[in-house]
């Protein structure tokens, strides 16, 4: 974590986050009454305003369509490989070949690394366990390892490369 620089306080630091909070508040209450809208607007202003000094650097998304495609691929992968893990669990511990592998990170953006680590944890068979202090290596635990190089290649082409395109170019 880097040290945050002191910026002068802005009145509306994260407009998109404010909109998100308002929508979240209305969804949570399932109503569009004036009172809820007013209260939601108040919360949508006060929360980003009072927490702005804790925010890290902003990230920007470059390709919104890529985000949708990434989310879809993630959903499909979660569903498909859950079946594989379920079979492994039901078969029991005997044929299992668990392993730790070291994954060299090429994305450098904090937010992209967070998304990548979460993706790895959500797709069954792998859990991201630890990230080195210089943010260059990710320690991944694999439930059943067949081919280390293949797995690295899969993670790179399926998840890391799209994330790179979304956040960095």
């Amino acid at each position: 974590m880097q040290t945050t620089k002191r910026h002068p306080k802005k009145l509306l630091p994260h407009p998109r986050f404010s909109i998100f909070l308002l929508v979240l508040w209305l969804l949570m209450n399932e109503s569009l009454a004036i009172a809820h809208i007013v209260l939601g607007l108040g919360l949508a202003w006060i929360i980003p305003f009072s927490s702005q000094q804790f925010w890290l650097e902003q990230s920007s998304v470059h390709h919104p369509t890529m985000v949708v495609r990434y989310a879809w691929r993630l959903a499909v992968d979660i569903a498909r490989s859950n079946v594989a893990v379920a079979i492994r669990i039901l078969r029991g511990a005997k044929g299992l070949q668990p392993a730790f592998i070291d994954y060299p990170l090429t994305v450098q953006h904090d937010f992209a690394i967070t998304i990548l680590a979460s993706t790895i944890s959500l797709t069954p068979g792998t859990v991201s366990a630890h990230i080195s202090k210089d943010k260059k290596h990710l320690l991944i635990h694999v439930l059943h390892l067949d081919n280390e190089e293949q797995l690295r290649h899969d993670i790179y082409t399926r998840y890391e490369q799209p994330l790179k395109e979304i956040f960095e170019c």
Binding site: M28, H130, S132, K133
Partner: protein
């Protein structure tokens, strides 16, 4: 049919909670117990929602939302508590 499905799902989730209870008691490490508690909270959300369907009212959703929040926050708090000091490497 729906009533039967709700009953079956409730039974399955109850068995799942029994498994987490087993892991909670057996351990062997504190981390296993935290994991068991976290899983128990997730399964409990499903039980609450299914009970809501059975009652035909969505009055229980706030409870489910709160358990989701508390489960996550307590897991993070407990693991942070275990990790005071330096990480490996």
């Amino acid at each position: 049919m729906l009533a039967h499905a709700v009953t079956i799902a409730l039974a399955l989730f109850s068995i799942a909670i029994l498994f987490t209870l087993y892991r909670l008691i057996v351990g062997p490490d504190v981390v296993d117990r935290i994991l068991a508690l976290d899983t128990m909270a997730v399964n409990l959300i499903a039980v609450i929602v299914l009970t809501g369907i059975r009652m035909g009212s969505n009055i229980l959703f706030e409870a489910a939302l709160l358990i989701a929040l508390m489960g996550f926050v307590s897991t993070v708090a407990l693991t942070r508590y275990l990790m005071r000091g330096d990480l490996i490497e």
